[in-house]
């Protein structure tokens, strides 16, 4: 077997994780045996570790994709279709984890949310289902309007209300539609800008990881500061996304 990038990935996890292949006795890689190629039993690891990565947020996505393809060739149930039933089970579990990990890490927002989750930070549930659920159960959902948006949101809500009234009456107001459209564009631009803001905190986070790698771990408070800032960006971003969705819905209806 050629020594690919993957065997390096496999070898990376902590030293105590290293033991011999259950099947052929050779020293194991984390996912499959370097020697006989057999799938190894699944271990509960986080998505970064699964790919042999440090929990850093600046991530080489093309390299991740390459590793994803290579690991798929080893772990996918189709490749292990003729193995014993236990091995097939492992293959199913490991390839589902591979797919879950890849789907999460390749997306900048999901990756950040996942890291926050690992750090024990609870995200404000802003999904549509959460909103619907809150509405259905009559629970008051906390919607913190980001301060820099207060004015804009206020104005937009007025206009959306007017639009709804117009629609009820069957009136058409092109000027109002243009105004709403302008707000929408501004919100979308802000939405994009927030991703850039998020990336500056990625750099801060990654340097903390580098420091702890170099044997100089950052104090807990410092980590918490960075994650809090990322959380703030994500919450604002979600808020804007929901707003844009409401605008679209109002325009379509």
């Amino acid at each position: 077997m050629t020594k690919s990038a993957l065997t390096v990935i496999g070898a990376k996890p902590l030293p105590e994780d290293t033991h011999s292949c259950w099947s052929c006795g050779s020293m194991r890689a984390a996912h499959f045996c370097e020697s006989c190629g057999k799938v190894q039993p699944p271990a509960p690891v986080d998505y970064f570790t699964f790919f042999g990565l440090m929990p850093k947020l600046n991530l080489d996505v093309p390299a991740l994709e390459k590793d994803f393809y290579e690991l798929s060739r080893r772990l996918h149930p189709d490749v292990n279709a003729r193995a014993a039933s236990l091995e097939q089970e492992w293959s199913l579990e490991k390839s589902s984890m591979l797919n879950d990990a890849y789907r999460t890490l390749r997306d900048p927002i999901k990756r950040t949310e996942y890291l926050l989750h690992l750090e024990g930070v609870v995200l404000e549930e802003q999904s549509k289902s959460a909103t619907e659920q809150a509405r259905a159960t009559g629970e008051i959902k906390k919607q913190i309007v980001p301060p820099d948006l207060l004015e804009e949101v206020f104005e937009l809500n007025m206009q959306l209300e007017e639009l709804r009234m117009n629609k009820k009456m069957g009136d058409d107001d092109p000027a109002l539609l243009a105004e709403i459209g302008k707000h929408k564009d501004a919100l979308e631009a802000k939405h994009a800008a927030l991703l850039q803001e998020l990336q500056t905190y990625w750099n801060a986070w990654d340097s903390l990881i580098d420091r702890s790698q170099a044997g100089n771990p950052a104090p807990v408070e410092e980590r918490a500061q960075v994650t809090a800032k990322m959380l703030d960006v994500l919450n604002r971003r979600n808020y804007i996304r929901n707003l844009v969705r409401d605008v679209n819905a109002a325009l379509e209806n």
Partner: protein
């Protein structure tokens, strides 16, 4: 040598096919009528024996109450899902059907569930393959529409089991088609597969990367296809007939089937001709004639084919791709022969679609490729790997009747999600979980997959138990659920019972019900094998008679052999495989001395400096006994 032949099966709405990899090329296995397509029609003959395919197709017109077609539309569906179908298709449901029960269709006075009817089609394909290989076929890859939900997939898998097939994998039809295409041209790029069949529509967008076929998005409509076009044409004809001829034939199954046959022929002809004359002799001496131009036809079907646009656009949006980014568009399914459909695909993807492979066969060929991959692969399929996605989001009903999505559509499968549950009252022992599939926000608008209880939670104060439930969608797109109470470590495996499915016991029962068929299959196979063996020994004997050794036998010995040869010939014409075997054994015994003499001749020729090849054995047997038992794959 007995090799396992894993076949690829396209279980279609209109036609079904079975294929396998012959060397490096996938090929379709024809039926005993020599045709590649087996019409997906099942009927009961006058002895209440099921017949499948063209034989059953005739019965659609002659005894429509004993036949069924397009059964795929009912797979994995409940009574409330099929009200629309019932208006358009002559499905006769059992009268005693209870709500929530698996559908049962009447054929004559017997009833069958949709998986059982599909199993009859699968069994016919299995037989065709067994005849072709002259050996048993027990493993298969079966294709399903990419947009099939969990219940429809489960029903297909059940059908395989009932037919005596181990279903190694369910593969999505458009993905299978891409495998067949990808085999000739191993290239990288983005392809769109537009699959408009008899009853289903799928669109899949794939990224090809060094042999990895990665589906990035899929969408579709499991109730859209050529059937809908046929129904439009039939409706027009029926309206015409009641208007012009003053006869209401809507309730006349025989007449409707005759019309159906005629409009299908017209539809097909309109793909190559600008205008076609419909001319049907109807029961009661009526005659219906009408000229249909392609232009009229295209206007008529526009609303049907327009329904494929939304899914295509959604799939491109989900894939994050503009049409310019699509490198190739591939057409699959018989309905893509319609020029108007081709024009639509060209417009959607900004390029001329590929039609190199027969759109009726390409899915089965791709299934054969996947079967080969699962069987260990070959030179042709080395490095090929399929990464498919789940077409629909998986969700859980949460408070307020809202769906909480836990695995989003277009996630690569296998995929998993873990949820934590707790109790709401002290000492609560059960937690009910409702699993849903679909994109809508409210549970009532999604498809109910299953309800199940987490049972035996140890008595604890409300909110203390922490039950971890793991949802896993396997490579077939079928959901598995397992649960564990974390504080007690108690594990509970839960089998999800689809809301519209058969239980394991029911499936088992159906396999047993068809045991007599299995017996019949076995006899049939034994007969084929015995006859082949008889042919082998008889031809070896012919060769022996021409050898020098023949002259060394006594007249009596020759007479004995001739008698046994005649006996074998006689039983060979009958259907009793055991009698044939007995005659073979007798002839084997009776020709023992001939075989020995032939061996001696061969050896002495070798001593005289001749090689075996040069003796008068010709290309005759070289085994110790020339009448060695035939071996079968």
């Amino acid at each position: 040598m007995a090799t396992d032949h894993i076949v690829g099966i396209d279980l279609g709405t209109t036609n079904s096919l079975v294929a396998f990899m012959q060397g490096e090329t996938p090929v379709v296995i024809p039926g005993d009528d020599g045709l590649n397509l087996l019409p997906s029609v099942v009927a009961l003959d006058s002895n209440n024996q099921p017949v499948v395919g063209n034989a059953a197709r005739n019965s659609l017109i002659e005894t429509p109450e004993r036949a069924v077609y397009s059964i795929k539309r009912l797979m994995g569906r409940g009574m409330e899902d099929i009200q629309e179908e019932l208006k358009l298709f002559p499905f006769r449901l059992a009268e005693d059907l209870q709500p929530g029960e698996v559908l049962r269709i009447k054929l004559g006075d017997k009833t069958f569930t949709p998986p059982e009817i599909s199993a009859l089609i699968l069994r016919q394909l299995k037989r065709n393959a067994e005849r072709f290989f002259n050996g048993p076929v027990t493993k298969a890859v079966i294709t399903v529409p990419a947009y099939f939900n969990d219940a429809q997939r489960q029903a297909t898998k059940d059908a395989g089991r009932i037919a005596g097939l181990e279903v190694l994998r369910l593969v999505n039809e458009p993905t299978a088609a891409s495998l067949a295409y990808g085999l000739d041209k191993k290239q990288n790029g983005i392809i769109a597969v537009y699959d408009l069949g008899g009853g289903t529509f799928d669109i899949s967008i794939l990224k090809l990367h060094d042999g990895i076929f990665e589906v990035v998005a899929t969408n579709g409509d499991t109730h859209l296809g050529g059937d809908d076009i046929d129904n439009l044409l039939i409706t027009i004809a029926l309206d015409d007939i009641s208007g012009d001829l003053g006869a209401d034939l809507r309730r006349n199954a025989e007449a409707v089937q005759a019309l159906r046959k005629a409009v299908i022929e017209t539809k097909i002809a309109l793909s190559s001709q600008p205008s076609v004359k419909l001319d049907i002799q109807l029961p009661g001496g009526l005659r219906y004639q009408r000229e249909i131009t392609r232009e009229q036809f295209e206007q008529l079907i526009q609303p049907v084919i327009d329904r494929t646009v939304g899914p295509c656009k959604q799939a491109m949006k989900d894939a994050g791709l503009k049409p310019e980014k699509i490198d190739e568009a591939v057409l699959v399914g018989g309905s893509t022969r319609i020029p108007k459909v081709r024009a639509l695909v060209k417009e959607l993807f900004h390029r001329e679609p590929h039609t190199d492979l027969n759109p009726d066969e390409v899915v089965a060929l791709g299934a054969a490729v996947q079967a080969n991959i699962l069987g260990g692969g070959s030179k042709a399929t080395a490095d090929m790997l399929l990464l498919d996605v789940t077409p629909l989001s998986l969700g859980i009903e949460v408070a307020g009747g809202v769906t909480d999505k836990i695995i989003l559509r277009n996630s690569t499968i296998p995929a998993s999600a873990t949820q934590f549950y707790t109790t709401q009252v002290d000492g609560q022992a059960n937690v009910a979980i409702h699993v849903l599939q679909g994109e809508r926000e409210l549970a009532k608008d999604c498809r109910s997959l299953a309800r199940f209880d987490l049972k035996g939670i140890p008595p604890m104060a409300a909110g203390i138990p922490r039950v971890e439930v793991k949802f896993l969608i396997d490579a077939n797109g079928i959901l598995h659920v397992s649960a564990r109470e974390q504080r007690s470590g108690k594990e509970a495996e839960i089998q999800v019972q689809p809301s519209y499915g058969l239980t394991d016991e029911q499936v088992e029962g159906m396999i047993l019900d068809s045991f007599d068929y299995a017996e019949e299959d076995f006899r049939r196979r034994q007969l084929i094998e015995a006859r082949n063996e008889a042919a082998t020994i008889l031809s070896a004997l012919e060769k022996g008679k021409k050898s020098a050794a023949w002259g060394q036998l006594t007249t009596d010995e020759k007479k004995q052999i001739a008698k046994m040869e005649k006996a074998l010939g006689a039983v060979n014409a009958e259907d009793d495989y055991q009698a044939i075997r007995k005659a073979i054994d007798a002839l084997n015994q009776g020709t023992m001395r001939l075989a020995e003499l032939m061996m001696d001749t061969a050896v002495s020729s070798a001593l005289k400096g001749k090689t075996m090849d040069e003796t008068d054995l010709g290309e005759g047997p070289t085994a110790p006994h020339p009448m060695a038992k035939a071996e079968f794959e």
